[in-house]
């Protein structure tokens, strides 16, 4: 008997491209694995062992949709995608990304909780899912085309209500930061998953579903939706309603909150076949001023190295937005400009005017057009750019190493450093310490799944970086107590960071498993209809961190509360994801400590940083491992912890791995 009465479909679609076979299997137990993060990790553990390269047929790519996807739960339409990330550095690693749009809801309506793809097609094809009817179709006419031309051709062929996720030339050519794009700019963006589909010769996935998502308790569910919407309506700013502000298009199915994701008309001077673009966050570096939307960084590290980084050159709304669309149409991450643009600008400031005989004409948008097209097709030097900044630097070593590593390094797992108080927005202590610990144990840029702690440091957080706890407002301290169990969580320094980090890691798993938006969930702070209302309220600012569970119960009929979702379920999934890295890549403490050099650069506003020997960070890592039940020497989960979480088989595998290492050492 099924353990749920709504939300899930209980069916998981498997596509084997080698044999051109499609099958349906049972969704892994929701009570044990909750949703996408758990299912995807389980598939990796069972099917993607050591030695598999992201571009091998043996690699799996999993598209999963959580129990709330397809319903009207606020922001719930997200698709959670996992695979071996080609962008992982110094080596590829299993990781997770996600996208909004209509794709996930449509997959659910077609009758599936998820889709796992493996193998490699013998010729370019696309996957067509129409409810029960699943076929591989010839894509030879689409191969080489941009994302937007591909989407439009497939919608014209199959219907406007069919949803398409596609790769561009970048994915086809296995660029390590190629995206999978859906609609205008919904993207499985930053982890290079586009190249995985390219290697499988899968140009696109087209899905149309006419089924539905059962709701266990319709009246109770609608009541919960109303309650959570009222808590969440202010979106990322926490103030206002969706009828105020920007001319937004909901970036995801059922996203009903205020946002600054904008859909703007463009001229399309670069011929992408789209006349508008969707602008979210980091892409706005393209459309900023002549020297970008973000300020420069200047600093001296504890090692005595200096950095002076001008902002990446922006091209204003007109040309800048055309470049945003070109990036998406080629199937590249929206981060492309934020990392490379800063790097090139800093090189020019050092007097380096060319790379490999090619001038860095970075103030000319047409130069960027040519650069993007070349790297997406791996032409000439573009073949090396396509490897990502970290690998490019290893080969060409243009400029000082510490400059390149300021943008992408082993510590950022090969992705662009995100919210860490240096390159982007200020992030005074203790917020950058959260970031450091999260990156230490991650397999990707951590921010897309843990914006939550950053939001404490906003309107009701620090007006400016405090030097002393006495400067922190009482209501923020009270909020920290309610969320994390101690006001120390918002004191400068790292006294309580391990607790906060673990809480946010668990909440990221829950968020991805529902799946809902990271800009909104967990709902840590209350929302206001207006600035006036916000200013007039001097009381507690706590939101409701149980919101996901309040939606989950009436949707699925499964009686799980938020604490059980955190422990043992999310804790189990964090540990399994860790064990995948341990087994496949030998992930250990040394890898985690790769974040240290980056955080030895001063935070851009309060000047705080790790010391030269990073003893405080090593002590913090000890405390984190202790709290997690991981071995302090190796950073591996202890067998007792894994057994406690019902991961006995995983524990045995790690034990035999340890034994074989000991034998090898002898």
């Amino acid at each position: 008997m099924e353990s749920f009465s709504g939300g899930y479909t209980g069916r998981f679609l498997r596509v084997d491209l080698d044999r051109r076979q499609v099958s349906v299997e049972e969704t892994p137990d929701p009570r044990k694995w909750l949703g996408p993060r758990g299912w995807n990790a389980l598939i990796a553990w069972n099917e993607v062992g050591p030695g598999v390269d992201p571009f091998d047929p043996a690699n799996r790519i999993v598209f999963s949709v959580g129990p709330l996807v397809g319903t009207c739960a606020p922001t719930s339409g997200r698709t959670t995608v996992s695979t071996l990330s080609p962008r992982g550095y110094p080596r590829p690693m299993w990781t997770t990304s996600s996208m909004g749009g209509y794709f996930g809801a449509e997959l659910k309506y077609a009758g599936y909780d998820g889709l796992v793809i493996h193998g490699q097609a013998d010729a370019p094809c696309y996957l067509l899912i129409e409810d029960e009817r699943v076929t591989l179709e010839d894509a030879s006419d689409l191969w080489g085309k941009g994302v937007y031309a591909t989407e439009q051709a497939l919608k014209a062929r199959h219907g406007q209500q069919h949803q398409v996720a596609a790769i561009g030339p970048a994915g086809e050519n296995r660029v390590r930061f190629a995206s999978i794009i859906h609609r205008l700019n919904n993207a499985v963006g930053n982890a290079g998953f586009g190249g995985v589909l390219g290697a499988k010769r899968l140009k696109a996935i087209v899905v149309r579903g006419t089924g539905g998502v059962k709701i266990a308790d319709p009246a109770g569910f609608l009541e919960a939706v109303r309650y959570v919407w009222d808590l969440a309506k202010g979106g990322i700013s926490r103030i206002g309603r969706p009828d105020a502000g920007y001319p937004i298009i909901a970036c995801t199915h059922a996203c009903s909150v205020k946002c600054y994701t904008r859909t703007l008309p463009i001229e399309d001077r670069y011929g992408t076949q789209a006349k508008k673009t969707m602008l979210t966050c980091v892409e706005s570096t393209w459309s900023g001023g002549p020297r970008g939307a973000h300020k420069a960084y200047e600093g001296v590290s504890v090692r005595g190295e200096r950095l002076s980084i001008p902002s990446a050159p922006g091209f204003g709304k007109e040309v800048g937005l055309d470049l945003v669309n070109l990036t998406s149409d080629l199937g590249l991450t929206g981060w492309t400009h934020a990392t490379w643009g800063h790097y090139f600008a800093a090189l020019k400031e050092l007097g380096i005017e060319e790379i490999g005989g090619e001038p860095l004409d970075i103030d000319n948008p047409d130069w960027w057009r040519d650069w993007l097209v070349k790297l997406a097709h791996r032409e000439g030097l573009g073949d090396d750019y396509a490897e990502g900044l970290a690998r490019f630097y290893d080969k060409h070593q243009v400029g000082p190493r510490h400059l390149a590593e300021f943008f992408e390094s082993a510590g950022s797992r090969g992705q662009g450093w995100h919210r860490e108080g240096r390159l982007m927005e200020p992030h005074p202590s203790p917020f950058w310490e959260y970031s450091a610990l999260l990156y230490a144990v991650s397999t990707r840029d951590v921010t897309p799944s843990t914006h939550g702690f950053f939001f404490l440091n906003g309107l009701y957080g620090y007006p400016k970086a405090p030097k002393d706890p006495s400067e922190i407002s009482e209501r923020l301290q009270e909020l920290a107590r309610q969320l994390y169990g101690s006001p120390k969580a918002v004191y400068p320094g790292d006294e309580y960071i391990e607790y906060v980090t673990i809480w946010h890691q668990h909440r990221a798993i829950i968020k991805d498993s529902m799946a809902v938006c990271d800009w909104v969930f967990p709902i840590t702070r209350r929302n206001y209809d207006s600035e006036e209302e916000a200013k007039a309220d001097t009381g507690p600012i706590y939101g409701d961190i149980a919101a996901e569970a309040k939606l989950y119960r009436p949707c699925t009929g499964i009686d799980l509360d938020i604490r059980e979702m955190e422990r043992p379920i999310a804790e189990r999934i964090v540990n399994l994801e860790r064990c995948i890295e341990v087994r496949n890549n030998g992930r250990c403490r040394e890898d985690d400590e790769a974040v240290i050099p980056h955080y030895q650069w001063p935070e851009k506003t309060d000047g705080t940083h790790l010391s030269a020997d990073a003893r405080e960070f090593r002590a913090l890592l000890d405390r984190y491992y202790d709290l997690r039940g991981w071995d302090k020497q190796t950073g591996w989960p202890m067998p007792e912890k894994l057994e406690e979480l019902g991961l006995e088989e995983v524990a045995r595998t790690l034990e035999s791995l340890k034994a074989s290492q000991v034998t090898a050492a002898r």
Binding site: G6, G70, T71, C72, Y102, A105, Y109, Y148, E151, Q152, K155, Q160, Q161, R183, L184, G209, T210, G211, G212, V213, K214, I215, P218, F221, L222, V225, R226, W229, K233, R241, P242, D243, I248, I249, A250, H253, A254, C255, S256, V257, T263, Q273, A274, K275, K276, M278
Partner: protein, 175 residues
């Protein structure tokens, strides 16, 4: 199909004298719609107990590549002259006395889809699993009005219920 193009082609079929008159309708404004599609899900939950746009009596279409009218809705206008009613051969369509909605009596409907063919905008749709036509009944069984309007995050703007739309003299064919 957007509302702006709908008003100009209304056919002149007289309403039956014996039935209640048209009163209200749901009005959609693409200028405010954010395309979240919560209305579709709310409708299908109200009517069928599950989130299922294919059986929703309102649908939103967002064509991200269209340069004209990228956002449109299909929802019944509850016309005063209601050609769908005139077309029904099995007496499966009537008007709700309280709301004036044109409603399908599901137990009588045989799914012949004459109503859809008669509607200038083809609004009534066939149930994907059953031989049965589906259309908006303004949630006539709900005292508080249509659930889609209630759940719309921009309720009153993107979607609004005007219970006296036709009584106010809007029934001149202009929408």
């Amino acid at each position: 199909m957007t509302e702006t193009v709908c008003g100009s082609v209304r056919p002149a079929v007289p309403a039956s004298e014996s039935l209640p008159k048209a009163k209200g309708r749901v009005v959609f404004d693409p200028q405010w719609c954010r395309t979240c599609r919560v209305c579709e899900v709310a409708c299908s939950i109200a009517k069928e107990g599950q989130a299922r746009p294919s059986v929703a009596r309102i649908n939103i279409l967002f064509d991200e590549f269209a340069t004209v009218d990228p956002i449109s809705a299909t929802i019944c206008f509850q016309c005063e002259d209601a050609p769908c009613m005139a077309a029904c051969r099995v007496g499966a369509m009537t008007r709700d006395a309280r709301t004036g909605a044109v409603v399908i009596l599901q137990e009588k409907c045989v799914g012949c889809m004459r109503c859809q063919k008669a509607c200038p905008w083809g609004i009534p749709k066939q149930h994907p699993d059953r031989r049965e036509a589906l259309k908006c009944d303004l949630c006539s069984d709900r005292e508080s009005g249509p659930l889609c309007v209630e759940m719309c995050p921009l309720s009153g703007k993107a979607l609004r219920y005007e219970p006296d739309y036709y009584i106010r003299g809007n029934g001149d064919g202009k929408l």
